[in-house]
């Protein structure tokens, strides 16, 4: 089976919501800066951002600038746009973020045929404008 190019889902159909624990991640994304939630005391990373560090119990958070590169941990090839059921090849990926051990993101990958996506593939962040003036990190083949 040949799928062809992996597309990003159209940003105009994507919404997010935030809360005070998660908003710094999305504010950084608006400036095209990839970050992850890091404990202000023990330096361990956690994603999605939560109120308390599960390792040491601290409420202090840091939002360091990450290199914006990542490695594909797993992926799925999908062939229908979930919004309208039309034929549309997109590849959801779970990636391990470079510079943030233990932190993952779920995103789409592009710049590659869906058939050629593989676990261990290096990717770098691209930014997708979505609803309500938010910006979503996606990835392309590095």
């Amino acid at each position: 089976m040949t799928y062809g190019p992996a597309h990003l889902l159209p940003g105009e159909q994507i919404r997010i919501t935030t809360n005070p624990d998660t908003e710094p991640f999305w504010q950084a994304a608006k400036e095209h800066k990839l970050t992850a939630c890091q404990c202000g005391e023990c330096d361990k990373f956690r994603m999605p951002p939560t109120a308390v560090c599960p390792h040491c119990g601290s409420r202090e958070k840091k939002w360091p600038a990450l290199p914006g590169t990542a490695t594909v941990f797993s992926y799925v090839v999908c062939n229908k746009n979930p919004k309208n059921g039309e034929d549309y090849v997109y590849v959801p990926v779970v990636v391990d973020l470079d510079g943030a051990p233990g932190a993952r993101l779920n995103a789409n990958v592009t710049g590659v045929d869906a058939d050629d996506v593989h676990i261990g593939m290096k990717v770098s962040v691209v930014w997708t404008d979505i609803q309500d003036n938010w910006v979503l990190p996606n990835f392309q083949k590095a």
Partner: protein, 405 residues
């Protein structure tokens, strides 16, 4: 160490409605189906439904994924004079069989005398499970998942399956075997939705919905209701059937699994698992038994690969060897051999969620009861121990061992 409440409670009644293809149960209401299942289960137990004084739910008392059970409404509908236990496990279908443990807690605390656990499911167009995750604007947590287009459970399980294939060389043929082996158990079941033998050609031709998973790796979408009645083993002596003794029961799980595919943060080897290792180990500790001691395994099969990963979590085979285990025929049921094939343990002798019906796990519990009663349609010879599992999903998940009286 043996569980203090081992064999002290039992499932004494099982009841169900017909199983309908998704949406076809209308104009029945969901409460009508729930009431029928409860009354059928009580008739099976030989009690009046008005003797029920305990409710032990799972899935946060959800009826399907958008409706909700309410004990007061059920009392109003069915006329129970009083209730003295009403509790639910949190999260979703993972807690299915654990709800019987919750019932046991109520019974052993002498809160109640006859407890019902039930599920009713009606997927009218606006209630379809497969799109529930994608229907609403995501909450702040889910805003880290849903934008990727992982909107249905099949997308999510596919991510785990891909990792399993990468780590262990798991073959798509193993997923085919799971679907075919359990399909082979429905040809003689009047209520099953899918009864025809499944050819290789039909399986491979099934559309790839979320590569590596095909439509036939996804469970059925059915409407219907199922209820089971739990009481103390002392009271069970007065019921109609031999009791199905609650030999071990656990719910919960470990943080590495956590919110599971609603999160995707699980480290290896938990990522490519069913998240059942913790509750599996608990029921083995409670009982002193192992997977090899089971006569039949009723494993929650919302998606075919989750059967394979549960086989590993429960120790039917080593981690990473599920593919070879399945392909050696060991999950098959063969009446001519008393059920077991090639030293294995028959899995989903009722056809499971993939082939018989999907009522969020309850059909597995019914089959476990019938197996240890000795009345199953595809009876395993001399079945003494039946394992049943809740759905691999966000914690809690759950595990149950029933024992023949």
């Amino acid at each position: 160490m043996a569980w203090a409440n081992q064999d002290k409670c039992a499932i004494v009644g099982v009841g169900a409605t017909d199983y309908y293809v998704r949406g076809k149960s209308w104009p029945r209401t969901i409460n009508d189906m729930a009431a029928e299942a409860i009354m059928n289960a009580c008739a099976d137990a030989g009690i009046s439904h008005k003797q029920i004084d305990g409710f032990a739910y799972y899935s946060t008392a959800g009826a399907g994924y958008l409706d909700k059970f309410d004990t007061a409404s059920l009392m109003e509908t069915l006329g129970m004079p009083h209730i003295s236990f009403s509790a639910t496990l949190t999260s979703g279908g993972g807690g299915c069989v654990g709800a019987v443990g919750l019932a046991t807690a109520g019974l052993m605390n002498e809160d109640c005398t006859y407890t019902v656990t039930l599920m009713a499911l009606q997927q009218l167009p606006q209630h379809r499970l497969g799109v529930v995750f994608g229907a609403a604007a995501p909450n702040p947590e889910n805003s880290f998942l849903q934008p990727s287009g992982l909107v249905g459970p099949g997308h999510l399980m596919s991510m785990l399956t891909r990792r399993h294939m990468h780590l262990y060389g798991t073959q798509p043929e193993a997923l085919k075997e799971i679907v075919q082996a359990t399909r082979a158990n429905t040809h003689n079941r009047p209520k099953a939705v899918r009864k025809n033998a499944l050819s290789d050609e039909e399986y491979w031709g099934s559309p790839m919905l979320a590569d590596p998973l095909r439509r036939l790796d996804f469970c059925l979408e059915t409407d219907g209701a199922v209820a089971v009645i739990t009481t103390t083993t002392d009271r069970a002596k007065d019921c109609r059937h031999k009791p199905a003794l609650i030999h071990a029961c656990a719910h919960g799980g470990q943080r590495e699994w956590g919110r599971a595919f609603a999160w995707m943060g699980m480290p290896d080897p938990y990522f490519a698992s069913a998240g059942h290792e913790f509750t599996a180990n608990r029921v083995w500790d409670q009982s002193g038994l192992t997977a090899k001691d089971m006569d039949v395994a009723l494993l929650y099969d919302h998606f075919s690969p989750m059967v394979l990963m549960q086989l590993e979590d429960y120790g039917f085979c080593e981690r990473g060897e599920g593919s070879d285990y399945v392909l050696s025929g060991k999950i098959r049921y063969d009446a001519a051999t008393g059920g077991k094939v090639n030293g294995g343990v028959p899995v989903n002798t009722h056809g499971g969620n993939l082939n018989e019906a999907y009522i969020i796990g309850m059909t597995h519990m019914v089959e476990a009861v019938e197996q240890v009663r000795g009345t199953a349609i595809n009876q395993v010879a001399d079945a003494e121990f039946a394992l049943a599992s809740g759905g691999p999903a966000s914690l809690p998940v759950s595990s149950l061992i029933l024992r023949r009286d």
